[in-house]
């Protein structure tokens, strides 16, 4: 019975098994070693970071008490939101955009089998990475607080239950959203798009203009910590999980109510998702099919004609026009873009709290300005990574079976990759520059810092887009079932690891550069030092690092594609 229930997962399991089955030699072993080393460094850093965070909180204890569960509740809440968004995209792909749906829906497969298969698939693809990154954190907490042995066994089970909630929720939300989708693309859809655009514009304008309450003392900063770190609403699953963690960690009585709440919410959402999809799945699928079939094939076929052919040769122009069209028509990509924009907006909106830095005492302001500027660059770099992972990394694989058409065109692989790079770099760079600049404005940073941040954005984007493209070419998979599965693949993890390593490397010269810019604004401080020379050195290091990374990344991807052809 259980075997039948998980019938649709069998091919996936075999594929996974076979990937590791064969003896891996030479280059493959070397690649695996690099991946394992990077992963070990990252997991080790997370472990060390969480351990030290608790040490830091202990030192802070005379001023305010923040326990491991406080820290964990913040992470859990963030994880819940991110996991929901990631699940929504994956659910859309696996339930509605998958290539095997036609076959499955016409075959004698019970809907329960389809539901369980897609649920497990979405859950695994969306949760394996958060789980992997959460595990060292939990171990760090456990070791620091000397948790009992059963903490390490029981807690991962509850984390699994916790991560199932956004998966089930995303099934319901995605299906509901498709049910209200207009049957045809047209005026109605355009109006909705423009309304959304208007609302976003208004909010961004509000972000710049709105007056925020200034932080007048360290005590108010503590209040800020409270807002950020104590999501204490009893109805939040992250609260239940953090309570369970606390009881296990400090060996207190089991949090029975929280355990029952977590378990019953998971079961409730799973059963509701099944009942809801059983009733509305086919209708939602029809709605989406109807919406997607309304692709406008008429209209201007060559919208880049205005660019002279001396700047953009015909072959490249045709290629760019094709990519723009595909991007606009791709429903999954558009959804991801909206989600990323929403996330960025939430982050920027919250950055306003730092606008009051000028009211912080001068003795500590310098450190804070430095910290906030670097944090903005680092978070911005992670946003670029997210864009890279969702758009640039799968861009080559998304060509699918049409990849061979591209190869038969006058473009060779090197030019193809170059075109892909220049197709993605300007928009991603534009988004990154806007993000960094808005971040600086939201923080009330001086113009000099704003310019430095924008410059850093342009340079770092260059490197990350290069890595994404290189990884996308190296791990290219043209036989995907649905486009969103590419993001959660092994190649996706390697891209994230490489990108994090790259951001860490970039942070050194960026930190130095921003530090010098901030310092130059301090009156009479370090007046004898030559900021100009040091700034130039840091800029040269940053630019060289990014250019080198892009070149090497794209070259490796290019070689792999050529190897596959031969």
């Amino acid at each position: 019975m259980i075997r039948e229930l998980f019938l649709l997962l069998k091919p996936r399991m075999y594929a996974f098994k076979n990937r590791w089955r064969g003896t891996r030699r030479g280059r493959a072993v070397f690649q695996d070693l690099i991946a394992v080393t990077l992963l070990a460094i990252l997991l080790g850093s997370i472990f060390q970071g969480s351990y030290e965070a608790l040490q830091y909180l202990d030192r802070f204890r005379s001023l305010a008490y923040l326990s491991a569960s406080h820290l964990f509740s913040v992470v859990a809440l963030g994880l819940f939101v991110m996991s929901f968004l990631s699940n929504a995209v994956l659910a859309l792909g696996s339930l509605y955009l998958s290539h095997d749906l036609d076959l499955l829906l016409s075959s004698p497969v019970h809907f329960l089998q389809l539901f369980v298969g897609r649920l497990v698939q979405t859950f695994v693809l969306s949760s394996w990475m958060p789980f992997l990154f959460l595990f060292p954190m939990l171990v760090g907490f456990g070791l620091y607080e000397q948790a009992p042995w059963y903490y390490y066994i029981i807690l991962p089970l509850f984390v699994g239950l916790f991560l199932l909630i956004p998966t089930a929720l995303s099934f319901i939300v995605v299906t509901s959203a498709l049910l209200v989708l207009p049957k045809k693309r047209g005026r109605k859809g355009r109006y909705v798009f423009f309304i959304l655009l208007g609302v976003t514009g208004y909010l961004i304008a509000g972000l710049i203009k709105v007056e925020v309450r200034h932080l007048t003392s360290a005590e108010q900063f503590l209040r800020l910590i409270q807002i950020v770190s104590l999501p204490n609403a009893h109805w939040l699953p992250s609260y239940w999980l953090s309570e369970i963690l606390e009881r296990l960690l400090y060996q207190r009585e089991i949090a029975l109510h929280e355990v029952v709440l977590l378990l019953s919410t998971t079961l409730w959402l799973l059963s509701l998702a099944y009942l809801f999809l059983d009733r509305y799945y086919r209708r939602a699928l029809q709605r989406l099919e109807s919406f997607r079939s309304e692709v406008v094939l008429s209209g201007r076929s060559r919208f880049l004609e205005f660019i002279p052919s001396s700047i953009l040769p015909t072959a490249q122009r045709a290629f760019l026009e094709k990519d723009i069209r595909l991007l606009v028509r791709d429903f999954a990509q558009l959804i991801q873009l909206v989600i990323l924009c929403a996330l960025s907006w939430v982050y920027l909106y919250n950055l306003r709290i730092f606008k009051g830095l000028e009211t912080v005492p001068v003795s500590v302001r310098f450190g804070w300005e430095h910290f906030v500027a670097i944090t903005n660059i680092t978070i911005g770099a992670f946003l670029i990574t997210a864009i890279g992972l969702r758009f640039v990394y799968p861009s080559l694989s998304l060509e699918g079976r049409a990849y061979w058409n591209l190869l038969s065109s006058p473009l060779g692989i090197p030019r193809l990759l170059k075109m892909k790079f220049w197709f993605w770099y300007p928009p991603v760079c534009f988004i990154a520059c806007c993000f960094f600049a808005l971040g600086s404005v939201a923080m009330g940073a001086p113009f000099k810092i704003l310019l430095s941040s924008v410059f850093a954005a342009a340079i770092i984007t260059y490197g990350i887009v290069g890595i994404a493209l290189g990884c996308g070419a190296y791990f290219a998979n043209f036989e995907w079932e649905h486009p969103t599965e590419l993001i959660g693949s092994f190649g996706g993890l390697i891209f994230i690891l490489l990108s994090i390593s790259f951001i860490s490397l970039c942070c050194l010269p960026s930190t130095l550069f921003v530090y010098l810019q901030v310092r130059s604004l301090q009156p009479d401080q370090f007046a004898n030092w030559s900021n100009g020379e040091l700034s130039l050195v840091s800029v040269v290091i940053l630019v060289s690092l990014c250019v080198l990374t892009t070149r090497v990344g794209v070259r490796i991807g290019e070689k792999e594609l050529l190897r596959r052809m031969s």
């Binding site: 019975m1 039948e4 229930l5 204890r61 005379s62 001023l63 305010a64 008490y65 923040l66 326990s67 019970h110 809907f111 329960l112 089998q113 007048t216 003392s217 005590e219 108010q220 900063f221 503590l222 209040r223 910590i225 409270q226 104590l230 009893h234 109805w235 207190r252 109510h257 929280e258 029952v260 709440l261 378990l263 019953s264 919410t265 079961l267 409730w268 799973l270 059963s271 509701l272 099944y274 009942l275 059983d278």
Partner: protein
Amino acid sequence: MFKHARFFALFVFFFSSVSFASAYYFLEKEQTDSELSDFPLVLGKQRYFFGSDAGCVGEATVTVGLENERPSIEAEMNFRVKLFEKKLEIPAEFTAHFNALNQLGGSFFSMKFADVVVVFGTTNISPIRLSLQVRKSESLLFKKELSLPGPVEIRHQGGGLYELAFPESVQTLSGRVPPVLEGLLPAVERNTGSNCVESREYWDLAPLLEYEKLLPANPFRFLGELE
């Protein structure tokens, strides 16, 4: 199984709905009932009265302030006690300060009768370091230092009403106080002690002293010094 999948899902749906509702109800009840103290504090100045079986045995003026969004409590108290046939008026003071996270950062309590001074203070947020000292004419009669799990928080209940929330371990500790002893302590009433004007009674400490051996470190030993 596949035939009855819908019924099974419906059963799970209703079963989980019921268990969710009941667990949430108990969680809320637990949060509101046991964690918070039975002593509501109102923003601004309020008068409280201490009543025992005999009648009104003391008054307190409690001021709950909010300076820079940090709550603070200041109280001036006056107890009337009867000990070894002696009738005493005991003035006492209490101050507590909370940080921006509403956690108790420090508190201080002092009371004086005859030439004996009882001082009780807490420092640190978690664990709370508690210190009790009894002095008589500059000489130390009793000293005890304890470490209690924290933090104690003051929570805003809306409408200018605040309540103190104690960590679970402190509740467990207070639960161990014998009910007989609890009955001997005066009850606190807000603004309803009109009988205090008419009947100013004295709180007899003699029954309380009979239970002194139940308490750790014999804290009432110093009372013998009054004789």
